[in-house]
């Protein structure tokens, strides 16, 4: 059942930032597609307070990007209303665009022939920053994101990580009150992703009221950065709360991380055992390279209580599986998701609908997006 969020409980009415940063009511978005329309968002209610770091967590195709596009005025909802810092997303687009910016993971915007410094300056002009002030701001940002050595390098020659740092600098050019980040660390290596996360955190913390809406399907990222998270699946918000609050939802059960040498039938063969709430293969995030090298199977088990573990161990023998490692684990956001949805993030690759022109020239065919 979708969750309605009506109160964030953050800054009070006396503050100049009393207006919610984001207020969405009954947002629905349906894409015209063949063979039938695709419902990307199905009644989203959301309120984000000024100064909040809010995350939308969900698998591919959950509708996260569609919601961001609506809030950034790039897409109209099929139904419902939304406001950004009190400005209507349908009628007050210019005002919203003056106070927001956005950065997407894997973004390839700009012109490869320009140098990093030139590219950022070009974008600074789109926000009305004076010519000389633009260069100064660009230089500050280049240093801030750690691209000092690449400032004179052509954009086309940047690595993925460097490019994303540049994109992040672009997103800060106008000193936005609200920054929309759509999977900002997608495709980055561990070090670059950490660096981008640190940048985001530092920027937000520097001025009270700066608000960030982050979409991600990386649990650890949402856990680390976000003050509150909405878990989204198939166009609906399933739960909203702080990471700690969300984890408490599954605290009543016992969680185990079970590593096996093999498992005929996969985790599903354990899911039906007495006392087993769910058994899901650990995502790549949860299983390290060492596990892959050893060719083991890692299963996250949610049990009604610790006693049910005995039944699982007994059941492994007929399946030809031997325990390599067993550890009781604290609940993660993935466990919360599994409990809410009944499947893991990687169990279903429902596509995010994206309209692309088909061969007849009409962009009414939904394609798998991410």
């Amino acid at each position: 059942m979708p969750v309605t969020d009506s109160s964030s409980g953050l800054p009070g009415a006396a503050s100049p930032l009393a207006v919610p940063a984001i207020q969405a009511r009954g947002i629905r978005r349906v894409y015209a597609a063949k063979p039938e329309p695709v419902t990307a968002l199905d009644g989203i209610d959301l309120e984000v307070a000024p100064g909040e770091f809010f995350g939308l967590l969900g698998p591919n195709g959950a509708g996260k990007t569609t919601l961001i596009k609506i809030l950034t005025t790039l897409l109209l909802p099929s139904a419902g209303q939304a406001r950004v810092f009190g400005f209507d997303i349908e009628t007050e687009t210019k005002k919203i665009r003056r106070i927001m910016n956005m950065v997407a993971g894997g973004e390839q915007s700009g012109y490869g022939i320009l140098e990093v410094r030139e590219q950022l300056w070009m974008f600074s002009q789109f926000y009305g920053i004076g010519v000389r002030d633009g260069w100064q701001r660009v230089d500050e940002l280049i240093e801030a994101v750690g691209l000092g050595d690449q400032r004179k390098q052509r954009v086309s020659t940047l690595s993925t990580g460097q490019r994303q740092k540049m994109n992040f600098a672009r997103g800060l050019l106008n000193d936005p009150w609200i920054l929309f980040l759509d999977e900002p660390t997608l495709g980055l290596d561990v070090s670059a992703a950490r660096s981008v996360r640190e940048l985001i955190g530092a920027w937000k913390a520097a001025v009270p009221g700066r608000t960030v809406l982050l979409t991600t399907h990386y649990m650890a990222e949402a856990d680390e950065l976000c003050e509150r998270i909405a878990i989204v699946d198939r166009g609906r918000i399933l739960a909203i709360g702080s990471p700690a609050e969300l984890k408490k939802r599954v605290q009543r059960e016992s969680l185990f991380r079970l590593e096996l040498d093999r498992l005929a039938g996969g985790p599903a063969s354990l899911a039906g055992l007495p006392g087993v709430v769910s058994a899901v293969a650990a995502t790549a995030e949860g299983s390290g390279a060492a596990d892959e090298a050893r060719q083991t199977v890692v299963v996250n088990l949610v049990l009604e209580d610790d006693a049910a573990l005995g039944g699982v161990v007994v059941a492994l023998d007929p399946l030809g599986a031997h325990i390599v490692a067993l550890a009781k684990s604290e609940p993660s956001l993935e466990d919360v998701f599994v409990e809410l949805v009944g499947r893991g993030f990687d169990d279903d690759h429902a596509p995010e609908p994206v309209l692309r022109p088909d061969e007849t020239g009409h962009p009414d065919v939904a394609e798998a997006a991410r």
Binding site: P16, L17, V19, A21, Y31, A32, P50, T72, L74, F85, G86, F87, K94, K95, R97, R98, I99, M100, M102, A104, G106, E107, Q108, S109, Y111, I113, L114, E118, W121, M122, F123, S124, Q125, F126, Y127, G128, I129, G130, L141, A144, V145, L172, N174, D175, W177, I178, E198, L199, W203, A206, V207, G209, V354, R356, P357, G361, H362, P363, D364, R370
Partner: protein, 294 residues
């Protein structure tokens, strides 16, 4: 990381930050014109490969017609007509490839979303593209004109310099106005821009009389003069640059053609504005700005 709030004093609230004066809105749009023109100007100075493609090739095709006219002993003005047409090729190619098709490429690249998400008018982006394109094309046109005139001994007879200059500038404004309109049209239509641009090169060369007086096409030429800025501008410039040559056949005098160019400029730019607004609304409604970000 310490980033100081920018744009003057930090605004007290988002409401204050979103409240721009008219002057600031105009300034934003003017700066956006400059910003979008910048990559074109910088690019043309940085990448030299265009010299071969955009000067060498037009010069060769111009030369072919020069030799044909010499072989058939056409009036000497005809060689001048061809050279002038060859120079104007640069502008038309720029309008077709780097104006009309540009928003389509920008969408594919992911830039269009960022343009729409920024506070400036998209018309500023189009004006910036046009000004940057003018810079690129003018240098090519001048080189073709000077080299070909020198090599083939073209003798210009200009009696009305101010009118010639005015017609030239009006031709450019009408051409780039058309380019701005086509940019919106291509994007709204959503068809493969590559094929559309191909369609707009050779046929337009032909009906514009790039290598011969457009009046020779009879009704087709008259129609071209009425709707294609390249045709009317070129015809007017030929009349003014070769005064005393063969009188125009089937086309109006240069001063009337100048007025046609003024009308074209106004109509094309207005249409571009209307279409862009319509495009944005339609794009937001139908999700046409949505591209695969990864």
């Amino acid at each position: 990381m310490s980033l100081r709030p920018f744009l003057g004093e930090p605004s007290a609230s988002p409401a204050e930050a979103a409240d721009w004066s008219r002057r600031r809105v105009i300034g934003n749009n003017l700066r956006s014109v400059l910003g979008r023109a910048y990559p074109r100007i910088r690019g043309s100075l940085r990448e030299k490969s265009w010299v071969a493609f955009e000067i060498g090739l037009p010069f060769l095709s111009t030369s072919a017609f020069v030799f044909v006219y010499r072989a058939v002993q056409a009036p000497p003005e005809y060689i001048g007509f061809v050279v002038l047409g060859g120079a104007m090729t640069a502008f038309w190619l720029n309008v077709v490839w780097m104006m009309a098709a540009q928003l389509y490429w920008e969408k594919d690249q992911g830039n269009l979303e960022l343009y729409f998400a920024a506070p400036m008018s998209l018309m500023s982006v189009l004006f910036g593209m046009a000004i940057g394109g003018l810079f690129m094309s003018s240098s090519r046109a001048v080189i073709v004109l000077v080299v070909a005139s020198t090599v083939y001994g073209v003798h210009f007879t200009v009696l009305q310099w101010p009118l010639l200059l005015t017609v030239f500038l009006l031709t450019l404004t009408a051409l780039y106005g058309l380019g701005m309109m086509l940019a919106s049209l291509f994007l709204m239509w959503g068809r493969e821009a590559w094929h559309l641009t191909q369609l707009m090169v050779e046929p337009v060369y032909f009906v514009s009389g790039l290598n011969f007086p457009v009046g020779r096409l009879g009704m087709l030429g008259a129609l071209a003069v009425a709707i294609i800025p390249l045709a009317v501008g070129l015809d007017a410039m030929r009349q003014l640059a070769f005064a005393g040559g063969p009188p125009p056949v089937g086309t109006p005098p240069a001063d009337i053609e100048a007025l046609i160019l003024v009308a074209m400029t106004v109509v094309f730019i207005l249409l571009a504005r209307v279409m862009l607004r319509s495009l944005e609304l339609r794009a937001r409604r139908e999700g046409r700005l949505t591209v695969r970000w990864r």
